[in-house]
């Protein structure tokens, strides 16, 4: 039974959101990124040079391609959650806010998908 007054319910006052999931997933993706991020930077230090051939060969190696894909997904997800909070804090007005939140989510999905697609293309494509 809700303790909200009928007027409060109609007006949508008070917290209407479930924030626990967001909080937890932000931590889950953060820990994943801590490992994947360090791995990526370490690998960049180990690369002999940043010429196309070297980088292409490195990305195409199976383990690197897998970890890069995971990194891209974790980055996109963590970033999406973070920007969401920023939008919720500073963007007001029901329509603007909803549109901003939608665009944020979609943009991150596109970026994540593009990154994974690029990695797969490099790994499975011909040269």
């Amino acid at each position: 039974m809700s303790v909200r007054s009928p007027l409060a319910r109609v007006l949508g006052s008070g917290s209407a959101k479930d924030g626990t999931d967001h909080w937890w997933m932000q931590r889950v993706s953060a820990v994943a990124l801590a490992f994947l991020g360090v791995w990526f930077l370490a690998e960049m230090l180990r690369l002999a040079d940043f010429g196309h051939a070297t980088v292409h060969a490195w990305v195409a190696a199976p383990m690197n391609a897998l970890l890069l894909s995971l990194l891209a997904v974790a980055l996109a997800y963590h970033s999406s959650l973070g920007v969401q909070v920023v939008i919720e804090d500073y963007v007001h007005g029901p329509f603007t806010k909803v549109v901003s939140l939608l665009l944020n989510r979609y943009a991150h999905i596109v970026v994540g998908a593009a990154a994974v697609f690029a990695v797969l293309r490099t790994a499975f494509g011909t040269a």
């Binding site: 931590r27 953060a30 991020g37 292409h56 920023v86 970026v111 593009a114 990154a115 697609f117 293309r121």
Partner: protein, 124 residues
């Protein structure tokens, strides 16, 4: 809202800036910066998959002064967000809330960021 002329919260013009407050806003600012960096990261991966021509163009972009500045900025932002992020995880575990601890860990984050950024670029 009628302007009363009195200082408005958070009173930045008259208040001392605690390290905890500075790191809190820097965590958010570096987060946004890194989200933009994600675009560059994805662009880099797309360039790698698209062949020498595209990759060469992107490489030239990042070899420029502004490009290098951005890369250094992104690594610095990563190290700060990373170190402060771990500080947050320690708080989530319920520890380190005493003001002396929060300040100490805060300054450690600053030191760690500088050291890691310098070390990374020196080693690269």
């Amino acid at each position: 809202m009628k302007q009363s002329g009195r200082p408005l919260s958070p009173h930045l013009s008259i208040y001392r800036w605690p390290i905890t407050m500075v790191l809190s806003i820097l965590h958010r600012v570096t987060g946004i910066g890194l989200s933009l960096g994600l675009l560059a990261f994805t662009g880099w991966l797309m360039a790698v998959s698209s062949g020498e021509g595209y990759y060469g163009t992107l490489a030239d972009l990042f070899d420029s002064f502004v490009g290098r500045l951005l890369l250094v900025g992104w690594t610095a932002a990563f190290f700060l967000h990373f170190a402060n992020g771990i500080r947050h995880l320690v708080w989530d575990a319920g520890r380190g809330f005493e003001p002396s601890q929060a300040n100490a860990s805060g300054w450690s984050v600053v030191g760690l960021t500088i050291v890691l950024t310098l070390a990374f670029w020196w080693l690269l």
